[in-house]
Amino acid sequence: MIRFRIIKREPLPGWAKVVIPIAAIVVTLILSAIPILLAGGHLWKSYFYLFHGALGTRYNLLETFVKASPLLLTGLAVAFAFRAKFWNIGAEGQLLAGALTATVFGVHMGSFPAFLVLPTVIIAGFLAGGLWASIPALLKTKLKVDDVVSTLLLNYVMVHIMGALLFGPLQQPGSSWPRSSAIIEAACYPILMARSRFHMGIIISFAAVLIIWFINKKTTFGYRAKAVGTNIRAAHFGGINTTSVILWTALISGGLAGLAGVGELCALQYRLIMDISPGYGYSGIVIAMLGNLHPVGVLFSSLFFSVIIVGAQTMSRMTGVPTYIAEVIQGMALMVMLIFLLFTEYKIRVKRK
């Protein structure tokens, strides 16, 4: 009889913090061979096209950044929230709220001076996402409603709000599809690199990494959020206004997700459609966990995911492996990462009898 026990281990040296995630990624890629082979894809060809499709040409590389941008924002949104133990599973809905609000402003601000339009759209999108997230935060702090469930359910509510508006007041006149009119030129994110889709939103998302890192590490708010996330009872005992911390966390978290929505609208689609987000809000959760809730970790894991997503398109075209392999790899990456993280703190002791 073999018995397994999980017991605590000596803490690992600092370099482990960097090596472990990399090792997790490598292991995930190795495990990805299984679905690739099952799909009948040629193994090395598939890997090649995966990476070439994401990094092989100038356009592909820039496109990888384009795809990483919303993932980075939702990843930051979720990581920021989870750090304070506000289980924000609603990034998807908050993203849509941002896109929706940006549409309203972006379509109707034609008579405003051009330099006001973009900032307004961005701020409005941020606030919309933040406010949508503050609803479940209020429900949690004042009424003890579970945040996992409330944030999730509100995703579906927002999808339907969007549907109601896209089939209604926001619908492009003359169209029978659920799509809005196009936003005005002044509301579009400038493209920063010629012959690509590399846009201003990407810079915004990178800036967000710095800002969130700064908040977490250097501000008293970041300290309070960390305390609340660690032990809300002790934080409360110590005089921290935990309700305020959670509400502000929700606002910022939702705001980041909202910015992701604004980006998709103003840089890629230029009008609101039902499918504006292929689940970025949910991917953000995986990305946040993979990045161990740290802004820099989120940066790298969003780039990793983006490589997989963009690469999978090319790989699919060239080898016939379905694009959904991207989701499979994402799910596997998360589980591998979780297991690796576990083994930074614990080890298995095997007893044979």
Partner: protein, 315 residues
């Protein structure tokens, strides 16, 4: 408008309520089983999707609907086992393990479906379940015909509700499950195998979730679409809270949700001038409202969310 009070309307509504509620009842019962043992299984949405896809796939390939259901249950069990390995054996965060499984299972479901069927212009369909009319009971006036003309799976769901209540409250196993969920340390010191109990609950809970998903592709509709589950897994999570972790009360919640779902469809066909999407929203909003009402007196199993490890304390 007056059609609303027509017998046909009400009859149709009752039938629809049962139909729409069925997958949620399966999912809710499966989740109650897990949570009573102390594990929050957020993999439910993904497990249901894999169940839906697997059931569809096996039915398509073998021509046998019941085999499809069986396959869906097996897949649910496997995913439940995976959840157990992550959150029980390894003690990883239940929130994250569950979400990871939903994401992984969702991707896997789409991947396998695409692998098998490609992207045809006309989606493949199967021969779905037919509704079965129960002989004597359908003669009951007014509600009889509608209530007792249902899919077999719905009748099974009805039987599962009291079965689960009996399991939880009247059997030795049920007492063990409840104790593990309330005080895993206490259960351990009395000789109950906490790990095994939680694992089995996740496995069988997963089977129920898989069947719930299969209902949607084998009875409710007869094809597989990416959004076939549509958040019903999350609704089940809410229903568990709404029903205070009790099978019967959770089922009532599922019925209410099914009612709103069914009502929304019918009111449209009657020509009610409210935007379609507002209607779609109502069940979810109501669920949130219900949660608000319930959260105050929630009887959360005290051991929920805590991984159980023995050697933590020193000395």
């Amino acid at each position: 408008m007056s059609e609303i009070f027509d017998i046909a309307f009400i009859s149709g509504l009752i039938g629809a309520t049962m139909r729409m509620a069925t997958p949620i009842i399966f999912a809710t019962l499966g989740e109650i089983l897990s949570e009573r043992a102390g594990v929050l299984n957020l993999g439910i949405e993904g497990i249901m999707l894999m169940g839906a896809m697997t059931g569809f796939l096996f039915t398509f390939s073998t021509g046998s609907i019941w085999f499809g259901v069986f396959a869906a249950a097996c897949v649910g069990m496997l995913l439940g086992l995976l959840m157990a390995l992550l959150s029980v054996n390894l003690g990883l965060s239940q929130h994250v393990s569950g979400l990871g499984i939903t994401l992984f299972a969702t991707g896997l479901a789409m991947f396998i479906y695409r692998l098998h069927f490609g992207s045809p212009t006309v989606p493949p369909i199967v021969e779905p379940f037919k509704q079965v009319t129960l002989p004597v009971l359908c003669k009951i006036p007014l509600i009889g015909p509608a209530l007792f003309t249902q899919y077999s799976l719905t009748y099974i769901a009805w039987l599962l509700v009291p079965a689960m209540s009996i399991l939880l409250y009247k059997t030795n196993i049920g007492l063990k499950i409840r104790t593990v969920g309330e005080n895993p340390v206490g259960a351990d010191t009395v000789g109950v195998n906490v790990t095994l109990t939680r694992t089995l609950c996740l496995v069988f809970g997963g089977a129920l979730m898989g069947i719930g998903g299969a209902f949607l592709t084998l009875a409710h509709q007869n094809m597989f679409l990416i959004d076939v589950i549509g958040g019903r897994g999350w609704v089940a999570i809410a229903m568990v809270i709404f029903g205070n972790w009790d099978p019967l009360k959770g089922t009532i919640g599922a019925l209410i949700f099914g009612f709103m779902d069914g009502l929304q469809l019918r009111l449209q066909s009657v020509g009610l001038v409210i935007p379609f999407h507002i209607f779609l929203m109502i069940p979810y909003l109501l669920t949130i409202v219900a949660l608000i009402g319930v959260s105050r007196r929630a009887a959360v199993p005290a051991g929920l969310l805590k991984p159980y490890r023995r050697e933590e304390k020193g000395g």
